[in-house]
């Protein structure tokens, strides 16, 4: 009975049974769905739905870095733009870069800098675009997880996939993957990004306070979540090509007809009879492009 006045004072983010507002346990993720290759014009792309978050990631490159003065003669740049759509939050977000999105862009590009093989593409830039269509806390983790899939989809050489998930503290309990209410009214939020194979942490931020022990617990939760996310990322990439995989396995190369030898043509621009160009093809397309006698 005396509890009644308590309830009015503050929202209980996690009840005595350890169940959160949305019915999750302390170590549960929100439902997540990832799809790779959703955009046609970008070199690589991915879309992620993570609870209430809807995030689109696109990757271009490696391509010539512009303006020229930002080029690095020894390695490529990993540039990232994190942007929230004006309609992504309940109050209209004023469009354009602000302090927060500039910061997130910076930490995400630094996270990917450590996994992309930058030495292979000197003077170029890999551009990552993260567009948040709908936000529900944890957009930088969702964006980073999607961007990692988009990078792989673009064929950018990289050491490993990166997955990110936040942990935080609500009502004194360390919990995984805070949602909007938990983030707004919770005690701490700590996003981290993990390289799958090595367990390296490539992004680590914190809002609020955690003790050392709480932080250890949060890190453990996030590392566990990263493994689950990795599986979702891997499945998304496999799914993109799975239709073709079966076909690849069954594939038998067609028999190659031997091109008939013929005398070299001397005249340029002369209308050819169809079927005469085979000496050109042979030279252009054989694996060893050794020029024949010139």
């Amino acid at each position: 009975m005396e509890d009644v006045e308590h309830i009015e004072k503050e929202v209980k983010l996690i009840d005595a049974n350890g169940v959160r507002l949305d019915g999750r346990k302390y170590d549960e993720l929100r439902p997540i769905r990832i799809e790779a290759g959703v955009l046609k014009r970008a070199d690589g792309s991915a879309y992620i739905e993570w609870g209430g978050n809807k995030v689109l990631a696109a990757v271009y490159g490696p391509r010539e870095a512009h303006p020229r003065h930002i080029q690095d003669p020894a390695r490529d740049l990993v540039q990232c733009r994190y942007n929230m759509a004006p309609f992504s939050v309940s109050d209209r977000k004023r469009p354009g870069p602000d302090r927060r999105s500039v910061e997130i862009s910076k930490v995400i590009s630094e996270a990917f800098s450590s996994v992309v093989f930058k030495e292979q593409f000197p003077r170029t830039s890999v551009d990552i675009f993260i567009e948040v269509l709908q936000a529900d806390a944890g957009t930088r983790c969702a964006g980073l997880t999607a961007a990692s899939v988009a990078l792989a989809d673009a064929g950018v050489p990289m050491r490993d996939l990166v997955a990110a998930c936040a942990s935080g503290k609500i009502g004194g309990v360390v919990c995984l993957d805070l949602n909007k209410e938990e983030d707004n009214f919770g005690d701490a939020d700590c996003p981290m990004a993990v390289v799958h194979g090595t367990g390296e942490i490539v992004l680590l931020q914190m809002d609020g306070h955690l003790t050392y022990d709480e932080f250890q617990k949060a890190m453990e939760l996030s590392l566990g979540a990263a493994d689950k996310l990795f599986e979702l990322q891997r499945d998304a990439l496999r799914r993109r090509y799975s239709v073709t995989l079966e076909e690849i396995l069954r594939e038998t190369p067609p028999p190659a007809p031997a091109p008939p030898p013929e005398e070299p043509r001397e005249f340029e621009g002369m209308p050819e009879e169809p079927g005469m160009g085979s000496d050109v093809d042979k030279e252009l397309h054989d694996d060893d492009l050794e020029p024949e006698g010139i």
Partner: protein, 232 residues
Amino acid sequence: MEGSGAAVRQIVIPGEAVGGPGLKPGPGTFKSGSQILAAQLGIRSEREGHVSVIPLNGRYLPQRGDAVVGEITDMGPSHWLVDINAPYPAPLHATESPWRVEFGDTGRYMKVGDAILAFVLSVDEIKRIQLTMQDRDARKLNGGMLVEISPTKVPRVIGKSGSMISLIKDMTGTRIYVGQNGRIWIDGPDDGAATAVLAIRFIEDRAQAVGLTEAVRDLLETETRKTGRTSP
């Protein structure tokens, strides 16, 4: 998906183990400790003790000897700059052109916007590219049209020792050059060229399909019948 573990080809994602001791890392892979891991999304391939990953997607990276279809984007007194769809600028020096070009006279031979078939002369360790047209097959491409496809699908368009591309050329009566950079130049009668483009797009969409050559032959036959052309 991995039902056929014995199959030679298997899709790998970056960071996935593709081989251990006894194998050497080839293109698209890297070594981490004793393991060889994939650096790219692609198909695992093992050949002569080397394990490599054939990328399923990605940009064109020039290699020495590649035939490329390029477009002139800029001109200097003794060179042309060519766009070959690579992340780097590709200059063609006047001495590497098929003509004797006087200093400052580059514009008389090729202007901005012209298309050429050239060869990659060299790519150095900092990815500086040089092109050459000192080759029997290199030429300025007059007339015709350019089609662009993903560079990873070029081998399928060409086919085994050129089988696919000669099929398209024979059945459409067109002249076609396929650059390793994914640019394809097509010249010929309008309906034939249109059919060739259709066939190339068909191959691009189904790059991994079985019996692609036969499917393309069927497509070309129905198309040529539609346009009323008899295939030569």
